[in-house]
Symmetry: C2
Subunit: 347 residues, 2 copies
């Protein structure tokens, strides 16, 4: 924590004193930018602005009541329950564990938007719960009553708790390693795979014309989360380059293994019975395929699942919001007239 | 920091376990709400959504170059310089010092929006600096070269630093007192007076048809800040009631005295020469009038400036955005068609 207690006349900051962690530049001065791409992410995220109230949920109420099978309801409710807890965790990760340690204001300003977007997502789940008249107390508490949901939350909490302390000494390499692994976990697995791939079961319903409102909500969330994951990975690479340090492959492998086991248990629970066109095996294949992409993005040469294939080839097309809108003929919501509703996941 | 390390089947949360600080309820469960008004603030803030790109700055470029007097330029640049630093501090206060300690998710969700709004304000100043082609390095650094700006920042940093530690023990009454005084300072003085009243010199230009773009930007910021101040004061009263503790009047008086001296020095510097229709004396009178309002709002029976009068009676009318829009015939920007652009400061 920089403390400006006495008045001294000081020169403007040197941009080279800015660093992802262990920065030496005055934390109160936005410009000059060292990371202009972070500012671009901020502008892009603002351009993507949306709120859950814009999306019509009336069809979902009828679908939920009359059209979903028991297996589909089981899947739907548990995905929603996982997400309610997961997005509050995502907010806490960036807001409480990360933002203070990355003191360059152009990084913090995107993170401020990111924290807010997690809160928009929380609002979205609350809006879905209210629209469908679900028992909110029971849904929010489910992560404490279903071990297969808890497994993923437990891993996340452990990673978060390792770096949450505001006085974590980042001049020590073991702490830098913990920070990289925790931040890397949230960017690649938590946001980049568990969120990304986590919406797919709902998109499988949406694809069949069911729960289209929820599906559309989740497409907006997925667009945000894709940006979060890509921003996080860009920051991670910058951080490892500045610190001239990268954790050994075995630490990443441990993480992948632990997360895979949790995801497998989760998939087998939410899809204990398959639904039309989607099952636990497809879900896990897709998870592996996405995690390989993230592993490559953070610079690993060895991917964890060399045999993984794209098990849901329809996903990329469906998650392109513009095509989706035309397909379902719902209204297009754009905050600014020049904004584009499609988005890309950087390879 | 709550740590969920082992799986236990637990009942849904008891709403009475939620507290502003020292809460005992699971921090990952949004509902049921204990503070439904916080949720309403969040919805209202989202309804107020805007970005600086919506406002035309072209007139300001010409005004700045050809119409402002040297005294007006001096005032304008220094107000802007103070604000650039102040809004990053505001972001750090809520994001880093407060949010973790107020663990009820419905409070955190509004704070997530609040942190984001501070980043929108930072964007706004950057947008003004770029539009007017000012020397951004010099402007951002000015709080370190002008003692009269630094005086306000120094007080704010001291308050912030007292409560920034994430392991601050809030079971101890002296820490609770520091927390109340710091949070109270940011809500009442920093956001409720220094921001609120801090825009007035710019509005004095806007009133004469000068720097209308900047004036309009600052009206949006002022609307946000008024909500922040009122939310903060509501939280503060709730907190003091739950903890059954309020700092003695003398602590508030000390704060008022210290802040008044800093504001007086600042006013005398930015308005070392009066501008048409506005001067340092008017500025300070208005400051006192606003601080009295804040003192009453937090429940103090003795106001610090019994003789203060409303020195800028035109302000309330001008800061009503709708009237302003009609007056200047600029376009009305509303995110949602049913949103209202006017806003009230709760008495």
């Amino acid at each position: 924590m920089q403390n400006v207690s006495e008045f001294n006349t000081l020169d403007p900051i040197d941009v080279n004193d800015k660093r992802v962690i262990n920065g030496k530049a005055d934390i109160n001065q936005l410009a000059p930018f060292k990371y202009p791409w972070a500012w671009e992410y901020f502008l892009k995220a603002n351009n993507n602005h949306w709120t859950p109230l814009e999306i019509n949920m009336s069809g979902d109420v009828l679908d939920y009541k009359y059209k979903l099978s028991p297996a589909e309801i089981h899947m739907f409710e548990n995905v929603l329950a996982y997400l309610t807890t997961a997005d509050i965790l995502a907010m806490r990760n960036i807001g409480l564990a990360v933002m203070e340690k990355m003191s360059a204001p152009e990084l913090q300003i995107y993170q401020a938007r990111q924290v807010y977007e997690e809160s928009l997502h929380t609002w979205t789940y609350q809006h879905c719960i209210e629209s469908l008249n679900l028992d909110q107390r029971e849904i929010y508490n489910r992560y404490r009553t279903v071990p297969e949901i808890f497994g993923k939350i437990k891993i996340s909490n452990q990673r978060l708790n390792k770096i949450l302390r505001s006085d974590l000494d980042l001049s020590k390499q073991e702490n830098v390693q913990d920070f990289i692994l925790s931040y890397g976990f949230f960017a690649t697995i938590f946001e980049g795979a568990w969120f990304y791939n986590g919406f797919t079961p709902i998109f499988a319903l949406q694809r069949r014309g069911l729960m289209k409102g929820t599906g559309e909500q989740f497409q907006y969330i997925m667009r945000d989360e894709t940006l979060h994951a890509n921003f996080g990975i860009k920051v991670l690479r910058q951080l490892m380059s500045e610190e001239n340090f990268a954790p050994k492959q075995e630490y990443w492998d441990e993480m992948f293994e632990e997360c895979h086991a949790a995801e497998k248990a989760y998939a087998n629970y939410i899809l204990r019975e398959p639904i039309l066109g989607y099952n636990a095996e497809i879900h896990l294949q897709q998870y592996e395929y996405i995690v390989n992409r993230r592993a490559k993005q953070i610079g690993l040469t060895k991917v964890p699942y060399p045999n993984a294939v794209n098990a849901v080839p329809w996903l990329d097309e469906q998650t392109n919001l513009r095509k989706e809108k035309n397909f379902f003929e719902t209204r297009v919501v754009e905050y600014k007239s020049n904004s584009s509703l499609d988005w890309e996941d950087e390879e």
